[in-house]
Symmetry: C2
Subunit: 142 residues, 2 copies
């Protein structure tokens, strides 16, 4: 009634290894880090958004948001301005340049994900989504 422990360990190791593999490769392929692309993607959809809302959407630390946006502003991808009706919040939006670049980034991302999933048919993907979602759910209970 045992022999299941090895599989469990294996899953844990694979998840760790996968993590370590995906982010750097993605960044090399797409030319941007996954997190930054998620920021840009969100901005792409909403036109203008407060940092705090962005932070909650992306689910990342406030400090990290500040630094990413500072960087993105310096590289001309993003604009920031104070919300006139509440001077605590800063509103963020894509520049035209940022808006343009997001397109190519998204293309790269699509390509990357496709090659990540080469050999996976519809059923494989559904099954994987299901299991990953269950893992996610279990984690949140801890």
């Amino acid at each position: 009634m045992t022999g299941h422990q090895p599989d469990e360990e294996r899953i844990f190791e694979l998840l760790q290894a996968l993590n370590k593999g995906i982010s750097p490769k993605f960044e090399r392929c797409a030319g941007i880090s996954p997190t930054r692309l998620r920021l840009l993607h969100e901005l792409f959809q909403v036109e203008e958004i407060s940092q705090i809302a962005l932070q909650k959407e992306i689910d990342i630390d406030a400090a990290a948001i500040t630094r990413h946006l500072k960087g993105l502003e310096e590289s001309g991808m993003v604009n920031r301005r104070n919300n006139p009706v509440d001077n605590r919040v800063t509103l963020v939006s894509l520049t035209q340049q940022g808006r343009d670049k997001v397109h190519s980034y998204k293309e790269e991302k699509k390509r990357f994900i496709s090659s990540l999933l080469t050999g996976f048919d519809e059923q494989d993907r559904k099954s994987l989504v299901d299991k990953l979602a269950r893992l996610q759910h279990n984690i949140n209970l801890l």
Copy 2:
């Protein structure tokens, strides 16, 4: 012949989110970071090993190894000495204290992984291992 893109994106997002969830929770539960525990676990099995061999086993940067082992040495978990037959290499081993602690760490890890996989039966685990391994394989081709 489309509609598969959403699943692919979802898988990518889930993997990212999972990563972000697992490591901190693990550390909180087990009292040690996953990487450090992997180091200790390896040392536990081999009695004594060179840093370079350890590094290849764990698949991590040499700089990171140096710093982890420095830390573990300071906290009394690990011994290091020069290899008398080749003064370039440093040999690493668990102290008795380290050896003792590994036991409890491994228990915690087992518990953690089990709760991570609650609701997964034999078949689910096999299927998940299979798919994660295929992802891993695909990544390595990039």
